[in-house]
């Protein structure tokens, strides 16, 4: 396949960025999207040009490091996958592909397609944990039975990889899906219920302070989430929040 790539180039957080055109030839449909960018970068390096910076690490869809807005969609056209799991067979010979960073006020660009998502960590610092010491001197793991249904739903919420696709997709740059996933995981487990009220209040306050927008229920985040985190989590967080506010 021969393709035209239109890629966002920005040398650092302070400089203005712009879209730049690149041609790439002989792309194999078996390549992953990021391998296609590897090939482009190797060509750029050998020509003496600056390669395109993009975040990636595990390349198997679990670490959450890769991002990219591809043709206007977080993690590209396919569903239920991250950019590193996207393969070139989803594109046709002669296609033009637009590649941009995840854009949000709370995710400033570091370089080209790399953005700073430490705001997500900061929300977690505000309450994304259960306050138990790591001494191991807790009670036996089977001392409190947890209904399988609750454990499974907690697990589903906990599979969030923190990539930020929800924020990048949301027209309000809201982090509600991300925050609600963590709030839900703990709210559904007996171990997490003890400090559930403080947790939801603190995490939401931090989310607001960091400049994420509010939720207007468009549901776009759920569609683009590579892990299928459900909107139900937002509803659950709203209930938790209301409950905590009335205490």
């Amino acid at each position: 396949m021969n393709l035209t790539l239109k890629i966002w180039r920005q040398s650092n957080a302070k400089e203005q960025g712009k879209m730049v055109d690149y041609k790439i030839a002989n792309v194999s449909p078996d390549m992953s999207f990021l391998e296609m960018l590897d090939v482009l970068n190797n060509e750029l390096i050998e020509k003496g040009d600056d390669p395109v910076a993009f975040d990636h690490d595990c390349r198997e869809g679990i670490c959450g490091m890769c991002s990219l807005f591809i043709n206007g969609e977080a993690h590209g056209p396919d569903r239920g996958i991250t950019t590193c799991q996207l393969h070139m067979r989803k594109f046709k010979d002669g296609d033009t592909i637009y590649i941009e960073p995840f854009r949000a006020k709370a995710f400033p660009v570091i370089k080209d397609l790399v953005v700073d998502r430490t705001a997500f960590d900061k929300i977690q610092h505000a309450g994304g944990f259960i306050s138990v010491n790591t001494s191991g001197n807790t009670q036996d793991a089977n001392a409190i039975p947890v209904p399988k249904h609750d454990a499974d739903r907690a697990f589903d919420a906990a599979t969030c990889i923190g990539c930020g696709a929800c924020v990048a997709t949301c027209k309000n740059s809201s982090a509600m899906l991300f925050v609600s996933a963590k709030v839900s995981q703990f709210a559904l487990l007996p171990q997490g219920k003890v400090e559930a009220a403080d947790r939801v209040l603190n995490m939401v306050a931090e989310m607001d302070a960091l400049g994420f927008g509010n939720c207007t229920n468009t549901g776009a985040c759920e569609v683009e989430c590579p892990k299928g985190i459900s909107l139900e989590n937002i509803a659950r967080m709203n209930r938790e929040y209301l409950k905590a506010s009335l205490k």
């Binding site: 690490d57 700073d116 960590d121 944990f129 039975p145 990889i161």
Partner: protein, 666 residues
């Protein structure tokens, strides 16, 4: 220097508790005056950083990713072992200990492994308290499953994402301490050297990956938790950024590197498709519970498949060679990883491989689908001779068990694994070797501790499934927090370590010199060009089967390639910016040294054991032949300026509780 493993005296099952009762403690007020650096935030580093901070030490934690949550422990799929015996199937601390030593082909330290088995139960308690959502049964209690090489169900799991859930547990414990200010977190930072003052580890030099600043960080101890070095092969299941740099720099400053040749090649990975390939993807070991592995029995069929003239489903049952079931009737498809990998290579080398490259075998679920389908039909009183119905029912069962893995396979390969067998081939997955540590997890540099995959200690020559997660968390939550106190108790009056000491100057100068060289080199080839070449040498000559000739050649070729690298590598950009090429160049430079030591270690070990297979040392039917008389020791290498000149130090492995026997899975 003589290696002293510092294993406590006394009976095996009392060593750890007795030892803990008598080591020095640091009181809470003094802990506030002591700094500890933790490099890496995977299961070992994350759990260590959180626990040390909770105890009251001032922790500085470093990771190269944009968040500690992304460390590669997150990709572990299958599960974590613990000797809880919740299933009442006869498990015990002793059995977990025994299975691990045997699985490691009798090349691990008894006392360390026993301690690991002992604390395994605490890990599960701890993780549940932290809100890790393990799989549960309908009664609300924890579920278990079974893994290769053992006869009990002791593996706790969270679907196919156990590593993710455990890591997020450790990450949440870290977040609590970051929020309190007890951990200072440095994301997007890479450790580029360790600083020794009066022979003790007192700090590191790190590069801020965003702006290229070279930073000095001091502490009273340095804890290295930076994982394994599988990426020396270029292609592996490791993350792209996984690297040996922190461990290698410590090695160059005096930490001995132990058993570098012990590498685990995982049998079930998706095969390579072409030169563009950047990494390999693992398909969980759990698939071997139901999948049957085969290649065509007839050479002409194998050729026809490779040329696309024949499909696997067209090959009759009697023309298939289920070679694991044929060679190992009692363990069949569930032999340990090293055995399964070598058997696949043997068939492919003999010309029976099934994809275009000739390097793949089939993992077939057709008989599992039929078996489950018939069972379901009987349960629901349906017609078990209705092939269509049976297929549908069976497919549902298989989808329930392995759906996410099948989907992953389909996305990558673009073939439906329900209707056509999966193609798999072994790939580099885990490194059992690493920096040598004593019972306290301290390396041969005083005050430099090494945890998790980065150390050599617990898995011998082959790691069992679901044991890596156990070791990472055991080291970080339950071992280091005790042992480091014994060392730091001597530092309560030391005060903060200044960073303007000449030792910091020298280390920083060293780092800057290396970076300047790479940036201003202006050669002709990218970093990947050299990394791929290194990977090819490693895979061809230091891979699944090794011989003296190949290893000798590999050492010379790697040394040659290293020279070329320094002459001809091209690194674009500057140091003072976000520069991913420079990051890669610094990592590959270290792999080019480690690779040679790796080959040297493999050459010296004139036996086959676990993941290390020497063609000269095999039985008549091609099984590994261990030599306990001459090689029952840990090979710890001392750096002497060039990997080929490294000096060997031996730590004899003494087995007081287990009798050494030949592993047999026939």
């Amino acid at each position: 220097m003589k290696l002293d493993s510092k294993i406590p005296q006394g009976p095996l099952d009392k060593k750890w508790s007795e030892y803990k009762n008598h080591i020095k403690l640091v009181n809470p007020a003094n802990k506030r005056n002591i700094d500890v650096i933790v490099v890496g935030t995977g299961l070992a580093g994350g759990s260590a950083a959180a626990t040390l901070a909770e105890l009251g030490y001032n922790v500085k934690a470093f990771c190269y990713q944009d968040s500690p949550r992304r460390a590669h422990s997150i990709a572990a799929q299958g599960g974590i072992n613990a000797s809880k015996n919740y299933q009442g199937d006869g498990d015990s601390v002793y059995r977990l200990f025994y299975d691990t030593v045997k699985g490691g082909d009798y090349r691990a330290r008894e006392a360390n492994v026993y301690r690991l088995a002992e604390v395994s139960e605490n890990i599960i308690d701890q993780c549940v308290a932290q809100g890790v959502p393990f799989a549960r049964e309908y009664g609300g209690l924890l579920d278990n499953r079974s893994f290769g090489g053992v006869q009990v169900s002791r593996t706790f799991y969270a679907k196919g994402q156990t590593g993710q859930q455990l890591l997020l547990g450790a990450y949440s414990a870290m977040n609590r301490q970051i929020g309190r200010g007890k951990i200072q977190m440095y994301n997007r930072h890479e450790m580029l050297d360790i600083v020794l003052v009066d022979g003790k580890a007192r700090g590191i030099i790190a590069r801020n990956l965003i702006n290229g600043e070279i930073e000095r960080h001091s502490a009273h101890a340095v804890v290295i938790c930076t994982g394994g070095y599988g990426n020396v092969f270029f292609l592996s299941t490791n993350a792209m950024g996984s690297n040996v740099t922190a461990a290698w720099k410590a090695h160059k400053r005096g930490a001995y590197f132990a058993n570098p040749c012990y590498t685990q090649i995982h049998p079930t990975c998706i095969p390579v498709t072409g030169d563009h390939q950047s990494k390999l993807t693992l398909m969980s070991e759990s698939l071997r519970n139901d999948g049957r592995i085969w290649v065509p029995a007839k050479m002409e069929d194998a050729v026809a498949i490779r040329e696309g003239r024949l499909k696997p489903t067209q090959i009759a049952e009697e023309d298939r060679d289920y070679y694991l079931e044929r060679r190992y009737p009692s363990f069949g498809n569930l032999v340990p990883r090293d055995v399964a990998s070598r058997a696949a290579k043997e068939r492919c080398d003999a010309g029976y491989g099934v994809n275009a490259t000739g390097e793949a075998v089939y993992l077939d679920f057709a008989s599992a689908i039929e078996r489950y389908g018939k069972e379901q039909a009987r349960i629901h009183h349906m017609d078990e001779n209705d092939a269509k119905l049976v297929y549908k029912l069976g497919r549902d069962v298989v989808e329930n068990k392995y759906g996410n893995l099948f989907q992953m396979y389909e996305k990558i390969v673009d073939e439906d694994p329900y209707t056509t067998p999966m193609m798999i081939y072994p790939a580099v997955h885990y490194t059992m070797g690493g920096l040598w540590v004593d019972y306290n997890l301290m390396s041969t540099i005083e005050g430099c501790y090494v945890l998790g995959e980065a150390n050599f200690s617990d898995h011998g020559a082959n790691r069992l499934g679901a044991s890596a997660l156990m070791q990472g968390l055991a080291d970080g939550y339950f071992v280091l927090p005790y042992t480091i106190g014994d060392y730091l108790a001597n530092d309560i009056r030391t005060g903060a370590i200044p960073t303007d000491l000449p030792e910091f100057d020298a280390a920083e100068k060293n780092v800057r010199g290396m970076i300047d060289h790479l940036i201003s080199n202006n050669g002709t080839h990218s970093v990947d060009y050299f990394h791929k070449k290194l990977g090819k040498i490693m895979w061809d000559k230091v891979g699944m089967a090794r011989n003296a000739k190949g290893l000798t050649e590999a050492m010379a070729e790697i040394a040659q390639l290293r020279e070329e690298f320094y002459k001809d590598v091209k690194v674009s950009g500057t140091n003072e910016s976000f520069n991913q090429e420079l990051e890669k160049a610094l990592r590959v430079a270290d792999y080019l040294e480690l690779g040679e030591l790796f080959a040297k270690d493999a050459l010296h070990r004139e036996e086959s054991c676990g993941g290390h297979f020497r063609e000269e040392h095999q039985t008549e039917d091609g099984e590994a032949k261990r030599d306990d008389e001459n090689f029952a020791y840990v090979a710890a290498w001392e750096y002497k300026g060039n990997p080929s000149e490294a000096v060997l130090h031996k730590e004899d492995l003494v087995y007081e509780n287990i009798k050494l026997v030949t592993r047999s899975y026939k």
